[in-house]
């Protein structure tokens, strides 16, 4: 019996979000809030492992009250329990403060049911840092396994996990002790269309909701904006590439067009070979 906790986040859909051109910040009202896509894969992997080995999947999030919607989404995928920590004191947290708050919530969850495995998405699409997962692992003193694209085996008897970690030129097979924390790539699985019974369960589900007062031994100075040493000095949108020519037609058409263009601009090569060739 495994207890797997997936840490998830509700994020604005950055595929369609608009940037405020004056402040260069995201106009969060311009995009619907969704479950971070990487996290859907984390939950799906947790559900698959539970189905394989038996056990319980819990999900945990920190966020404003509407983030309950993201928890329900996880129940739709097949999670058993959902926990949310929400409090004004958490607002403005960077990855350091976020990992602290989540760790405190994980400790509380573990009091009722010890945790064997924590799974996070690779990163969130609004922050793109990928730091919270490893931050939690460090705080809980468990091995962080990042860029996981396959879970080979979880053995709750021998207390180990074997996973594949994606590398630039392949993958490595890693064995870790349990408990450990995985942050997973999108390619680890495909999230299927949820079943109707799961949808019904999610529509009715009421998650466990905790505020700061519900978390014992919490150091308030490490929470929210106060606990966040990150300073964002400025944000800017990368300039859009200008000009350029699109080649159309079949592949061979495009190649011959490209060659024509390059041949017509011999000066490019002349400049490159202008110096003494080694």
């Amino acid at each position: 019996m495994l207890h797997i906790v997936a840490c998830i986040k509700q994020v604005p859909d950055t595929k369609i979000i608009k940037m405020n051109p004056k402040t260069n910040t995201m106009d969060r009202s311009s995009a619907p809030a969704i479950l971070n896509p990487y996290d859907a894969h984390a939950v799906e992997e947790a559900v698959r492992l539970r189905n394989r080995y038996g056990g319980v999947v819990s999900v945990l999030t920190m966020g404003p009250p509407p983030a309950v919607k993201a928890i329900r989404k996880c129940i739709e995928i097949g999670a058993d329990e959902g926990y949310m920590i929400t409090d004004r004191a958490f607002a403005g947290a960077d990855t350091l403060a976020t990992s602290y708050a989540l760790t405190k919530a994980l400790e509380k969850i573990a009091q009722t049911r010890p945790i064997d495995l924590i799974i996070c998405g690779k990163m969130t699409i609004d922050g793109d840092t990928g730091q919270v997962g490893p931050g939690i692992a460090r705080r809980l003193d468990m091995p962080p396994l990042t860029s996981v694209n396959k879970v080979v085996e979880i053995d709750s008897e021998k207390r180990h996990a074997i996973v594949h970690r994606k590398l630039e030129d392949g993958y490595e097979v890693v064995r870790s002790t349990l408990p450990c924390l995985l942050s997973v790539e999108k390619e680890i699985n495909e999230v299927p269309y949820s079943s109707l019974p799961n949808m019904l369960r999610a529509a009715r589900y009421q998650p466990h909701i905790w505020s700061v007062a519900d978390l014992p031994d919490i150091d308030k100075t490490q929470l929210g904006l106060k606990g966040s040493p990150t300073i964002v000095s400025s944000v800017w949108a990368p300039p859009k590439p200008q000009g350029g020519t699109m080649l159309e037609g079949t592949q061979s058409d495009q190649v011959s067009q490209l060659l024509d263009i390059l041949m017509a601009r011999q000066e490019l090569f002349a400049a490159a070979s202008g110096g003494e060739a080694p």
Partner: protein
């Protein structure tokens, strides 16, 4: 084993949500199934919500619902290519409680309304498509959705799946609608500063105005255009019978562009920025196109039952009333423990006895008449414009001369008789 509910409502638009709200309020275990990501995400209407029928479901709703502006003025523009004769009513009694109607944006409003149904105890299920009704021994006993293990059972199923209801069609309640029974409406939501809207439309802060467009707005095709004020956007659109678009070989977006650049409209929307583009079918066949609305274990409400009054651009109010009446019928049928067609037929009787049935009956020939005789839009509206221009242009011609000229402009005696006959006919189909 599929889960069983007392009632399943398919579609969380105004009809379905009103029905689910009333059922849940009466303690019925009801599930409301919506195919969109959330209620309102797939819905389109010009944007006028009528206070009375909404209030019959949620009293005092305007205090908390996301409404845009209470409408204090309704203008009707009869347009020619470079002119318009406008008729308007503005009344300050519409600027205060109980109000007459409001502009709304459906994406916000429907979501709120469905939330109210959930508060009453309805279970809302989004992102789920109902594929078909489950029929056993001649009666509807549940639905099959597109999800794995996707069956649900219920004593009664309410079809609120909108115009061109596939579910009602599968049950044989109606055939595929003809192109002259449905209108295609396209609309855009244009962002514009609140202050500018109020200045341009001659409004005090927070008040709203609607403009209905006839004639050249649709290039003479039977249909209407509209321009409504929201908080900080305008809703502009144009809808014509599908048959008219086919006949005149005009694409909907061409018509939309035409309206937006029309000299009577352009100044209203100048400097605005298109935010959303939407298109939808509107059932406009009226009384004669109404499908069967009751079967064993099944009721049809709202657009799915073709409940739209095209002449008065009313639909959402009829939808809500039909949903409410369906709920009343179901509650009574539950007491009798009888969901047979005969038992549920009370819904049809109530519906036809209410303003919904009465108004549909009153205008049963109107759309068809104007569709059959295009001269109203093609000839008479331009004629009214020319007459107004003639009378109001001060050019030294004596007024009696002008009247004679307008009279001559109608054409020879034959044309005058034809026009008199047309006016009589129009009065007859509208009375």
């Amino acid at each position: 084993m599929p889960e069983k509910f007392d009632a399943i409502v398919v579609g969380a638009g105004p009809a379905g949500t009103a029905c689910a709200y009333e059922l849940a309020k009466a303690g019925v275990n009801v599930i409301l199934i919506e195919r969109g990501e959330y209620p309102g995400s797939k819905n389109v209407m010009g944007g006028v919500l009528y206070r009375k029928m909404m209030e019959e479901v949620v009293p005092g709703f305007h205090k908390e619902a996301p409404i845009e502006r209470p409408i204090v003025e309704q203008r009707f523009m009869m347009m020619d290519k470079t002119s318009a004769v406008t008729f308007s009513y503005k009344g300050m009694e519409w600027a205060e409680e109980p109000y007459n109607n409001f502009t709304v944006l459906r994406a916000k409003f429907d979501q709120w309304f469905a939330g109210k149904a959930v508060e009453q105890g309805a279970l809302l299920l989004n992102e789920t498509v109902v594929l078909e009704c489950i029929v056993e021994e001649g009666r509807v006993v549940g639905v099959r959705t597109d999800r794995p293990d996707g069956e649900l059972r219920a004593d009664v199923v309410v079809l609120a799946d909108g115009v061109n209801s596939l579910l009602a069609k599968q049950l044989g309640f109606h055939k595929e609608f003809r192109p002259d029974e449905v209108a295609l409406a396209t609309m855009e939501i244009l962002k514009l500063d609140k202050k500018i809207i109020e200045e341009r439309f001659n409004l005090e802060e927070g008040q709203g105005c609607t403009i209905e467009l006839f004639g050249d707005a649709t290039k003479g095709i039977l249909g209407t255009g509209f321009l409504y004020t929201n908080k900080d956007t305008l809703s502009i659109g144009v809808g014509t019978l599908l048959s008219g678009l086919i006949k005149h070989k005009i694409k909907p977006y061409e018509l939309m562009e035409y309206v937006k650049t029309h000299p009577m409209i352009r100044p209203y929307i100048q400097g605005s920025e298109a935010q959303e583009y939407l298109a939808h079918l509107i059932p406009e066949g009226g009384y004669r196109s109404m499908p069967k609305v009751v079967g064993a274990g099944v009721l049809v409400v709202g657009d799915a039952a073709q409940l739209v009054n095209a002449i008065h651009r009313e639909g959402s109010n009829m939808a809500m009333t039909s949903g409410r009446l369906a709920a009343e019928t179901i509650v009574a049928a539950r007491e009798r423990e009888d969901f047979s067609e005969a038992s549920l037929d009370d819904y049809r009787k109530k519906l036809m006895g209410s303003f919904v049935g009465q108004d549909l009956k009153k205008y049963k020939d109107a759309t068809h008449h104007f569709d059959k005789f295009p001269q109203y839009f093609e000839q008479y509206i331009p004629m009214v414009n020319r007459a107004a221009s003639q009378m109001l242009t001060v050019d030294g011609m004596p007024k009696r001369e002008k009247q004679k000229k307008i009279w001559r402009d109608i054409g020879p005696a034959k044309e005058k008789i034809k026009m008199a006959r047309d006016l009589y006919r129009a009065w007859k189909v509208m009375k």
